[in-house]
């Protein structure tokens, strides 16, 4: 079985046992529970910068909060802003801007992140590629 087929199988597995959730913004509720519990029980484990960031979460706009949680649930490291689409978030660019202003996210264009490219090139592949070209 190749990787594509395996991925497909994973997707099929995920589709079983589907029962619609009562509230489509469930993740926001869950995150609030996690945040409040952690802050209530373990406030002393966070430093001032972390507390400021976590404290500011409630003050952010609803869309911004949702986008932050959505992004935190994704495995990928970088996303193209125009390609981000969530039906419950009305303005993604505004939410992105607010997240960047608050310090949760960093962004820009690919020119700003040459490291992204470099870190993804496996050394072996690189040498193989050079050999191939030579």
């Amino acid at each position: 079985m190749d990787f594509a087929e395996e991925d497909e199988k994973d997707d099929d597995d995920e589709e079983t046992n589907v029962r619609p959730l009562a509230d489509e913004k469930y993740y926001e509720r869950h995150f609030s529970v996690i945040l409040n519990t952690a802050l209530r029980l373990y406030r002393r484990l966070f430093d001032a910068t972390e507390l400021a960031l976590l404290g500011g979460f409630e003050r952010m706009g609803m869309d911004t909060r949702r986008l932050l949680i959505r992004l935190s649930q994704r495995q990928a490291r970088w996303f193209r802003v125009p390609q981000l689409r969530y039906s419950e978030i009305s303005s993604i660019p505004e939410a992105v801007a607010e997240l960047q202003a608050a310090g949760w996210c960093i962004g820009g264009t690919w020119h700003c992140f040459p490291g992204i490219l470099i870190q993804k090139i496996n050394k072996n592949k690189l040498s193989r590629g050079s050999a191939h070209r030579n």
Binding site: L54, L71, A76, W78, G107, K120
Partner: protein, 290 residues
């Protein structure tokens, strides 16, 4: 061209009439992807890199894909969110419980017995403990990732045989700790190359050193009273790592070091006591066979 055709099949893109048309179709497909890099197995970019090995195509595809503004969570923020999950779910390993668990519970896919949880003691005595635990978890992840990469490399090189499929991560993790300790065949194959052996040995040495350092400092500082809470110490995580390192040392044919490590692991009674039978059995096995 054969590689390009394979790439098209993998990405489910219809090949064009000429090579240029096909490359264009691939580029267009990549440009429509929202995820740039991420999941190692599912990432489109990784697929391209893995299949073609053609850097020119890779570069052009990459630059086409990342036109426009991009955004990502800051590393600091990501770490903070991970910490929240650790504290809430009391995770002792890598991502075994996350927010997904809550959804699964809500959908009745996962069911827990109903009981009241009383947290008589905090998971971490202070921030220092938390940070050292996180560092240990990171070291463990790094070690496992290296093993995974080695095995993936070996698996890829033998892909023509179509049997070298690397098992799922959960199985792989299990394979280090199961009673029979059958490290996956791919991993053994990976260790056939000198460079891989060197890398694996360096990683093993690093883990052992970290474990020794940690055990030396932990004896001097107070440890949690409950055996359960010991799981949330760096010492526990490093001990768990060292238990995984021992079978790798065997595979590297460093039997003396493996036996010595087993002795040391059996000599401590603070962490991972549940694995004592396994360690004892392995020690006897290695000692008498080699």
């Amino acid at each position: 061209m054969a590689e390009l055709r394979q790439l098209c099949r993998e990405l489910r893109v219809t090949a064009g009439s000429s090579k240029d048309a096909t490359v264009l179709a691939v580029k267009q497909h990549l440009a429509s992807q929202s995820v740039l890099v991420g999941s190692p197995r599912k990432s489109t970019i990784r697929k391209v890199l893995k299949l073609t090995g053609n850097l020119l195509l890779y570069y052009s595809a990459y630059f086409t894909t990342i036109e426009g503004s991009i955004v990502g969570l800051a590393a600091f923020a990501k770490q903070l969110l991970k910490r929240l999950e650790l504290l809430f779910f009391a995770n002792t390993s890598m991502e075994e419980r996350t927010m997904t668990t809550m959804v699964l519970v809500e959908k009745d896919v996962l069911v827990y017995p109903k009981y009241a949880i009383v947290r008589s003691q905090p998971l971490f005595v202070d921030r220092e403990y938390l940070l050292s635990f996180e560092a240990a978890i990171a070291a463990e992840a790094e070690f496992l990732e290296l093993c995974e990469e080695l095995a993936m490399g070996a698996s890829e090189s033998s892909r023509t045989a179509a049997t070298g499929r690397w098992p799922r991560k959960s199985n792989r993790l299990q394979s280090f700790a199961t009673e029979d300790d059958e490290i996956d065949e791919s991993f053994s194959m990976a260790l056939q190359s000198a460079a891989a052996r060197e890398a694996a040995y360096a990683a093993c040495k690093r883990i052992i050193d970290l474990w020794h350092d940690c055990m030396a400092t932990t004896t001097a500082s107070p440890s949690p009273a409950s055996y359960f809470l010991q799981r949330f110490t760096a010492a526990w995580v490093y001990t768990r790592c060292a238990s995984m390192v021992a079978p790798v040392l065997e595979r590297l044919r460093r039997h003396d070091e493996a036996v010595q490590l087993f002795r040391q692991l059996l000599g401590q009674l603070d962490c991972c006591r549940g694995q004592r039978f396994f360690k004892r059995k392995r020690k006897i096995f290695v000692f008498f066979i080699y």
